[in-house]
């Protein structure tokens, strides 16, 4: 481990990694290139790794067949609300569980942790009934409320708590001597210092919301309310067969912006994950 490899071993490691890379990278490449091929070329044999002809008309078909712009907006604003809400409330709860002494704190923390044990799928039937009773079926409310306050946010609270536990006690005492109350300590001292943990929580909350699939198909039925994952599966012909080129174009538009953000901010992604994972 961590010793310098011999030149021969280096070749072996590079070769092995490059071969292993194929199933990780090729699907994305194939998605993007197939989406710009004319329909007649996408099942061509031999397969065209680099497209010989480009046809971008598929991309306008995406918007003709589904209210795709609207669906894009739905996914984006839901993910933004969920991310902001989760960051705020999980930071508050995580801070209180880590730093404030109050009666029953440990018992209440255990109650919250139950959320970690229960996959969202277990409670989907009663949640459907509850939202039906509140007249919120076929609205975006369930897709915002459940992630921000329910089981998915518990992991975020856990991560934030682990972070705040490690914050030096003296900083808060200095702040109290400086005359700050609890809320000001949280807002001006603890929260700014929690930026790495908040970033990690934000990234993974966003991805979780962006990928949500079971919940939208259970709660939503009108195409103009659909989110992207749900919309992607709707591009079928009259016989229910997949319209591959249109699906791939829509998939490309869904995946590529996030990939670009990832490449730009990949250090935060990876380090944020390592950070939360280790502590968790």
């Amino acid at each position: 481990m961590k010793t310098d490899l011999s030149p021969r071993m280096k070749v072996v490691v590079y070769g092995l990694m490059t071969v292993l890379l194929i199933p990780f990278v090729f699907p994305t490449w194939w998605m993007v290139t197939s989406s710009i091929k004319p329909i007649s070329d996408i099942f061509a044999f031999p397969p065209e790794i680099i497209p010989s002809r480009v046809d971008l008309s598929t991309y306008s078909r995406v918007f003709e067949l589904q209210p795709f712009g609207r669906q894009y907006w739905n996914s984006a604003y839901i993910a933004a609300l969920v991310t902001a809400g989760t960051m705020l409330f999980s930071a508050m709860a995580g801070y209180a569980f880590a730093r404030i002494r109050f009666p029953c704190a440990n018992a209440l923390f255990m109650v919250v942790l139950v959320g970690l044990l229960i996959p969202a799928e277990v409670t989907i039937v009663p949640l459907f009934q509850m939202f039906l009773g509140w007249d919120m079926i076929n609205t975006h409310w369930p897709l915002v409320l459940v992630p921000v306050f329910g089981a998915p946010s518990v992991f975020a609270t856990f991560v934030m708590r682990q972070f705040f536990i490690a914050l030096p006690k003296e900083l808060e005492e200095a702040a109290r001597v400086d005359g700050l109350g609890r809320f000001r300590i949280f807002w001006t001292i603890a929260l700014p210092l929690a930026r790495p943990a908040l970033g990690a929580v934000g990234i993974f909350t966003f991805l979780h919301s962006w990928n949500l699939y079971l919940e939208p198909i259970v709660f939503l039925s009108s195409p103009e309310l659909f989110t992207l994952p749900q919309a992607l599966t709707q591009f079928t012909d009259a016989y229910g067969g997949a319209m591959w080129n249109v699906q791939l174009a829509a998939a490309t538009m869904t995946a590529v912006p996030v990939l670009i953000v990832f490449v730009i901010a990949q250090r935060q992604f990876v380090e944020g994950l390592a950070h939360t994972g280790l502590k968790g």
């Binding site: 481990m1 961590k2 010793t3 310098d4 490899l5 092995l16 292993l20 890379l21 990780f24 990278v25 994305t28 998605m31 099942f43 044999f45 031999p46 397969p47 409330f89 709860a93 209180a96 404030i100 109050f102 209440l108 109650v111 919250v112 139950v114 959320g115 044990l117 996959p119 277990v122 409670t123 989907i124 039937v125 009663p126 949640l127 459907f128 009934q129 509850m130 409320l145 921000v148 306050f149 946010s153 609890r182 990928n211 699939y213 079971l214 198909i217 259970v218 992207l228 994952p229 992607l232 599966t233 997949a242 791939l248 995946a255 990949q266 992604f269 990876v270 994950l273 994972g277 280790l278």
Partner: protein, 309 residues
Amino acid sequence: MNVAARSTTGKPHKRAFWTMERRDTLAGYLFIAPQLIGVVTFVLIPLGLVFWYSLHEWNVLAQTFRFQGLANYEALLNDPGLPQVLGATAVFSLGLVVFNMALALLLAVLLDQKLKGIAVYRTLFFSPVVVSLVAWTIVWSFLLQNNGGINALLALVGIEGPNWLRGSATAMTSVVVVQVFKNVGLNMILFLAALQGVPRELYEAARVDGTPAWMQFTRITMPMISPTILLTSIITIVGSLQVFAQIAVLTQGGPGMSTTVLVYYLYQQAFQFHKFGYGATLSILLFLIVAVLTFAQWQMRRRLVFYEN
């Protein structure tokens, strides 16, 4: 007026009501209130309701809601589809965890080497994690078609590939593989961080003692990163029980019921066949499996984990 006058003159002698502890108590409750109310509303109450529903015959289309005791649980035990569903769930989860952990560890060890350009490899291995799940699954579905990219590539080297998603064994393998490549990057990064957290002096001491490389790995590295392996295996197993979008997009549970895992079966019963009572009973089963697995992992923790911070 009298009261006001008394209270102002009385003040210096009384203990102030809003002492530090009281204010902290109030702040603590206010800070956790959103999360706590949320967990009660969206986790605990629904969990109770699931159990309550499971004691009822409830068909949404027929609008029946009738208490029937444990009849749903009897139906569960006699459900001819259930053994197949549980079998598929077990095969999927085991296959996923074993393949995922092994690949994650291999990638982490490779990425732990001091090599130029290693960060680029790390980024690329991680990239599927940020690709939208359904988009990723659609591409693989496209690749796995009988006339799709994978069989075309195999044909170039003279192999006739199977119709991946139409044979029961290959369909299950496909679902596992698609899911592993999607998310193995997460575990890879966790393992990499754990590997880099092993104190370098331990390896130096081992090298001074002349310990061979493979023994350094099995006797130093593995014990030192075992807490991470355990943690990620819990997360991966529990996560594997939640697989839904991949099944829905790739195979719809087929061919036959060969890839109908528990969550997909639950979804079919509740939302396609409108049997909410039976769906709730399946939810209880899913909950019990997750609870037992988590409990078993925590017990194993005592025996297997050699080192902890």
